[in-house]
């Protein structure tokens, strides 16, 4: 199987700080790639670069053979990359269902003006009256296990569940690659098992995954391979067990104020 995503010598400077330094890696089709490293190692920045939140200072990003280095976040999503955020960014005044419905709009083919047209001239214009989209959105809410909150304002949901809502919303854009930024932070042990199951189910449906995670139980359990960042540089890559015991990695975690949980 070939690589779905490749970064080549990716670098990001924030003023004098190099948050991501010369990072090259590939993510194989269908793979779950774990991304770990101490606090401030540059993991989130790397996901921000891939998802188009801001452009890199140097280097390139290739997705399915296409150069997406300079593409904006919304373009990157329509190409087939979806993401979640370390600190959730849900639509707090919309219901859980509407959060997912908002992500299901066919933006590849429709711009704002054709949506304006639709709102007047398409029969099932009113969102909640469109049975088909609602059924799909409902099944996604069910898939991540938050059906109960369907009509709840997202801002009123428990934090742990908003993380799941973000996953459902990301899946609604039918991504080929999903970028997860600490999906398990703030979850209790029982919820962790559920989260592992969920991520594996998503992967089983053919979605490739890049996942940042501090919770070792999760990342060791699901990753096919691991990448380790330290001060913005990639210091190790390979099978989870090997990487975990790599002296460089051990030192990175012991040296910094690590909050890795075993």
């Amino acid at each position: 199987m070939g690589a779905i995503l490749t970064t080549d010598r990716l670098t990001k400077n924030f003023g004098g700080l190099t948050a991501v330094n010369d990072v090259s890696f590939s993510l194989e089709q269908g793979e779950i790639l774990g991304l770990i490293g101490p606090n401030g190692a540059g993991k989130t920045t790397l996901i921000n670069l891939i998802s188009g939140a801001f452009p890199p200072s140097k280097g390139t990003i290739t997705f399915e053979g296409r150069d997406i280095t300079r593409d904006k976040a919304h373009t990157v999503n329509t190409l087939g990359i979806a993401r979640t955020f370390q600190v959730v960014r849900i639509f707090s005044r919309l219901t859980a269902l509407e959060n997912v419905l908002a992500a299901m709009v066919d933006r590849k083919h429709k711009g704002p003006w054709s949506l304006v047209w639709d709102s007047f001239f398409r029969r099932a214009c009113a969102l909640t009256e469109d049975k088909e989209s609602c059924a799909t959105a409902d099944s996604l809410l069910d898939f991540v296990g938050i059906s109960k909150y369907r009509d709840e304002q997202a801002g009123n949901m428990p934090y742990a569940l908003t993380k799941r809502l973000e996953i459902a919303r990301a899946l609604a854009t039918q991504p080929k690659l999903l970028l997860l930024d600490e999906p398990s932070s703030g979850l209790n042990p029982a919820e962790l098992t559920g989260q592992i199951d969920l991520i594996q189910k998503i992967n089983a449906q053919g979605t490739s995954i890049l996942i940042i995670e501090h919770v070792m139980k999760v990342i060791m359990g699901i990753s096919h391979r691991l990448i380790v960042l330290h001060y913005g540089e990639k210091i190790a890559e390979g099978e989870p067990e090997k990487v975990y015991n790599d002296p460089l990695v051990v030192e990175a975690y012991l040296g910094g104020d690590s909050d890795a949980q075993h």
Binding site: S51, G52, A53, K72, A73, H74, T75, N77, T78, A82, R83, F85, R89, I90, F91, S92, R93, L94, E98, N99, L101, A102, A103, V105, R107, K108, G111, P112, W113, L115, V116, D118, S119, F120, C125, A126, L127, R169, A170, A172, T173
Partner: protein
């Protein structure tokens, strides 16, 4: 009774009341107030589409109102275009200006956007003041033609009295309301609300905020221009004062007090404040101070402090309590 049926009944009752009002209250002065309330309802609904649903503060909305009024008036006076078409032409020209303002507005937010939009309206007001050949400057255009009579079979509907305009404005409000409800309830509307709640989150699901903001600026301006046209043929006088900041301030106050980001809010706010402002006008004559602005300012502050969701929020809370008691 199903929710849908109840909704339909509610609409029928509301419509019947609106149609019957002129038969009950025949006072011309009252009808005048009702027309202005309707015009401001359209203005507030359209301003709220931008501010309440995308979170962008446009303090130049009155400019679109003025552009619509001038366009419709000038077309009717100089080319003899039917004022009925002029209403929509006014909306379209305002929409073009909305698109023009939308472009720089994309790069700005918060106070910068607010100041830019004030500047935009102020520049256009000065143009209206100084392009004397077209606008007759500060004198304004007087004698704007009335809406032309409509013939249906043997029956001819004239547009002469306040009461006649009242029906036109009610139709205008319903038209605006219909369009805005459709927009908000659709995929387009959900997109706007997603952007308002979290722009980066919205981008992550493929939404290009710039293109949607431009679209909303344009649509919002269209309805303000349409309201301007209604005003021009009703008041028969169009002056640069229409583009002044205090009109935008009135619109903003109405939206805030009614309830930002709702559909009922702007209607409640516009109607109640138009009536209040007429009540204060008579007090002003006695007190000899500009009490209206003071009251508006106070109401705005109180709303922001104690009822963020406006009158709509208050009604919702009271309703919930009444329901809870049973």
């Amino acid at each position: 009774m199903s929710a849908r049926l109840r909704n339909i009944l509610l609409w029928i009752v509301a419509l019947a009341v609106l149609i019957l009002i002129p038969f009950v209250v025949e006072d011309r002065y009252f009808m005048h107030i009702a027309v202005m309330a309707g015009i401001f309802t359209i203005l507030t609904l359209s301003w709220n589409l931008l501010a309440g649903y995308t979170g962008q503060l446009n303090l130049g909305h009155a400019a679109f109102y003025g552009i619509g009024a001038y366009t419709s008036a000038i077309l009717a006076m100089q080319t003899g275009l039917s004022p009925w078409l002029g209403l929509f032409a006014g909306g379209l020209v305002a929409a073009v200006f909305g698109l023009m303002l939308g472009f720089p507005a994309l790069r700005l937010s918060g106070p910068y956007l607010a100041i830019t939009t004030i500047g935009f309206a102020e520049i256009l007001r000065l143009v209206a003041m100084n392009w004397v050949d077209l606008t007759r400057g500060s004198l304004g255009l007087s004698g704007v033609p009335l809406l032309t009579p409509i013939k249906i079979g043997d029956f001819t509907m004239q547009f002469y009295f306040e009461r006649d305009y009242y029906y036109v404005v009610v139709a205008g409000v319903l038209f605006t309301l219909f369009c805005i409800r459709r927009l908000i309830g659709s995929e387009f509307g959900v997109t706007l609300q997603a952007m308002r709640d979290d722009e980066a989150g919205a981008q992550s699901i493929g939404i290009n905020p710039s293109s949607y903001k431009l679209a909303v600026f344009t649509i919002s301006a269209f309805f303000a221009g349409f309201a301007g046209g209604l005003f021009a043929h009703f008041a028969r006088l169009v002056s640069p004062e229409l583009l002044a900041l205090h009109n935008t301030f009135d619109i903003l106050t109405m939206a805030m007090i009614g309830g930002l980001g709702t559909i009922a809010g702007p209607i409640l706010g516009a109607v109640s404040l138009t009536i209040l402002s007429e009540a204060l006008r008579s007090m002003e004559e006695v007190l000899k101070i500009d009490i209206r602005l003071i009251v508006y300012g106070l109401l705005l502050i109180l709303t922001i402090l104690f009822m963020r969701e406006g009158l709509v929020g208050v009604i919702k809370n009271v309703w919930a309590r009444v329901k809870g008691d049973r």
